[in-house]
């Protein structure tokens, strides 16, 4: 019982720690704002209001948090399997492109068929894009950090190619504007909007459900057990008869699938067409999110809201006090640095706890 309370306190401490760290970063931001000749108070008020200040703000934050959460879950799974997935960007893009192709070129005007089909396609595409590095690592020991970085660039160029050639919106060609984007997805593939006119959609709910699914998968099933075993000690796993390559690859494939789905939900829930930059750095920020959440799928949920809030609030800040977008990037960078650095305090604390038992 006592132990339970303690572990609970420990958990809450872990949970609020990132918030403290974030505040610390914002304090440094004050000086930067002053040197930019902006009023820090107004700026941060805008930041907060933009993130959590109104119903619309909160909704915007949640919308942003959704892809972050999905990518984050993927990162957690990969990490537990002992692989690092820096390929989120590419997997998002491929997920979006593939599902867009299905939606555009497969005329089955039925939500019941198309929505699941499109989302599954997105997952499959992401899984393939993550699976290739996974396979290369598992079978030939090619380092996945290298390959995922490369696959990101390849995906970007590939999407540029499609968006400017084969998949470009025919309308854009007629009008001669030639913007690099696909035609709009057909109505019947759109995810249901939960609070019109905002873009909050059922994808968010799906993401949260999947977070819990991932938790169960990793800690309550034999598959998860094997993934974690391989992640910690492949030699011992091999000794125990676990097929190491398969589960290494599987970790990457699952991870990719989640990122791919993020792309699909971004497409059918928010954007409704594939544009350049549809990945919008979610691939990298998703990694950060996962770490905010202690690389635990459930922990990633609040982490995504926090980080999403910062991004949305940052834009609002830009609007209200007209700071350069570069300032927001800098600030986010600081936040990340402080949050990861702060982790050590919770670790030390938990050790002290254990000791005094």
């Amino acid at each position: 019982m006592l132990l339970k309370i303690r572990s609970f306190m420990q958990k809450t401490f872990d949970a609020i720690l990132p918030i403290f760290a974030t505040l610390l970063a914002l304090i440094i931001g004050i000086f930067m704002l002053k040197s930019l000749g902006k009023n820090p108070l107004d700026a941060y008020q805008a930041l907060f209001e933009g993130a959590f200040g109104s119903q619309r703000a909160i909704i915007q934050t949640v919308i942003k948090a959704t892809p972050l959460l999905l990518v984050g879950i993927g990162v957690c799974i990969a990490f537990r399997g002992g692989v690092v997935n820096i390929g989120g960007e590419g997997q998002i893009i491929m997920g979006a492109l593939a599902s867009a192709a299905v939606a555009l070129y497969l005329p089955i005007p039925s939500r019941l068929i198309m929505i699941p089909l499109c989302l599954l396609t997105a997952m499959a595409a992401g899984a393939v894009w993550g699976g290739i590095p996974g396979f290369l690592k598992a079978r030939m020991g090619v380092n996945e950090i290298l390959t995922t970085v490369m696959m990101n660039s390849i995906a970007v160029y590939f999407s540029n190619f499609l968006l400017r050639g084969p998949m470009i919106d025919p309308h854009e060609i007629e009008m001669g504007t030639r913007a690099a984007q696909t035609a709009q997805m057909p109505e019947y593939t759109w995810l249901t909007r939960l609070a019109p006119p905002t873009q909050l959609n059922t994808g968010t709910i799906l993401a949260v459900i999947l977070a819990f699914f991932a938790f169960v998968l990793l800690w309550r099933t034999t598959i998860g057990y094997r993934i974690r075993a391989v992640g910690f000690n492949s030699a011992a796993s091999k000794y125990a008869g676990i097929k190491v390559p398969i589960y290494q690859a599987m970790a990457m494939i699952l991870s990719g699938a989640f990122s791919g789905l993020a792309g699909g939900i971004e497409l059918f829930g928010v954007q409704h067409r594939v544009l350049e930059n549809i990945s919008a750095n979610y691939g990298f920020n998703g990694i950060v999110t996962a770490l905010f959440g202690n690389l635990h799928p459930i922990g990633t949920i609040p982490a995504a809201v926090l980080f999403g809030g910062l991004m949305v609030g940052g834009n609002k800040m830009q609007r209200s006090v007209q700071v350069h977008s570069a300032f927001i990037d800098t600030l986010l960078g600081l936040v990340v640095l402080f949050v990861v650095a702060a982790k050590i305090f919770s670790t030390n604390r938990s050790k002290r706890r254990a000791k005094n038992e």
Binding site: T221, T222, Y225, F232, N233, A236, Y239, G241
Partner: protein
Amino acid sequence: MSKKYYPAAVKQPIKQLQMIDITKQFPGVLANDHVNLEVRAGEILALLGENGAGKSTLMKQLYGLYQPDSGRILINGKECHFSSPTDVIHAGIGMIHQHFMLVSNLTVRENVALGLKSSRQPFLDLNIVEKKMMEICDTYNLKLNPRAYIWQLSVGEQQRVEIVKTLYRGADLLILDEPTAVLTPQEVDEFFQILRKMAQEKHLIIFISHKLHEVLAISDRVTILRDGRSVGQRENKNLTKAELAQMMVGRPVVLQYERAAPSVGDVKLKIEDVWVRNDWGEDQVKGVSLEIRSGEILGLAGVSGNGQRELAEALAGLRKCSKGRIIIDSIEMTKASPYERILAGQSYIPEERNKEGIIREFDIMENFILEDHDKIPYSKHWILNFSNIAAATQKAVDDFSVKTPTLSTKVKNLSGGNVQKLILARELNRNPKILIAAQPTRGVDIGATEYIHRRLLKQRSEGTATLLISEDLDEIRALSDRIAVIFEGRIIGIVDGPTATAEKLGLMMAGVQEEEQK
């Protein structure tokens, strides 16, 4: 922050070391509880204790790796604080660690040179290092190839590197944490020569071992730890194994077991002319053929590095045979995966227990189900059943008296011996048809050793076919029905277990055929 140790005080050699009231608390474990210990120049102190008694922890504090929670360390009567090994090395203290401290993808000589001033700073003088090191090897006749990479060496050879490393640094005070655990009798004798020589040269030596006869043979005094407390200081005069054992375990320990006559059944494991290559592609096992019947223990004796490891790994399916056949229950399994062998009822207790036997970051329960996690009762339809897992683990932990605060303690926090007990518990719990046991009691205290031996014999009587790979001749002779001796990858003779003498086996391990002996 603790004060630094002044090298000034080191100038004159260490005459006396005292550790007073040392207390060290680990998460959930009081590893040292007001421990006292003293050594004087020219003296060899043996530190005895069961697994988890706190020996290594105590020594790590002396070596500056851990900081004591309380207590004092005096050198020549002067108190000093070691905040890092650097100070300690300065002070003239050297340590051979229980778990090797070698950089596996560096060469032997690079490992020796590591951290030393070079004669042509800033450049390496590997050749000079090599020369000096070979001199040491010659004086204490230790065989080593200075240009070999560590990962190419057998455990025994690695232990030699550790010894050379320490000797090279010429410390006054030597801490030896189970240095003989992986040495052959001959090597142990040679090693003891070294120690005696050093003792005469007025070195101070702290020697940790679980092998009582070694302790009696080498030490001047014995300090005994139990559950982190020092329970005895004895001059090594007419001490007996039984006494020591009793003090360590806190109860009388039987050191000889009566073995029922073997009731051997049909052949369970058949090895036909098996050839296996080592990590760097040379044949290490050269045509070994063996047969093990159910209900018998076949001992495989040999100096480490003669192919035992490769053979064991081949049998476990972790290494593929370049030639030959492995037959389990009259089914060819030469190319079978580890999983298939496990299903076929084979268990394997690996030599590299920390690397292969367990997952250090997993807790005890998770490690306990390593091979069987996908089988009822541990899981059903892919869903793990934790209550069953906990129950089974608890039982095993109790049976095998694994010392641990809780079942969800991470295995990396267990002492070496307790890890081994856990592995054994897991493997025997599956009650295997075939058991490959590589060095099952290496670094395990007598209490546990006794228990492990009993369990092996129990398995035998239950019809398990056991291949016991060990360098401990006492163990081999105590347990084996037949003893095969391996030398340079070949079986140079199989003798009847109970009647085999240590001398005879020792000679065979050195490559002398049975016939030649007569």
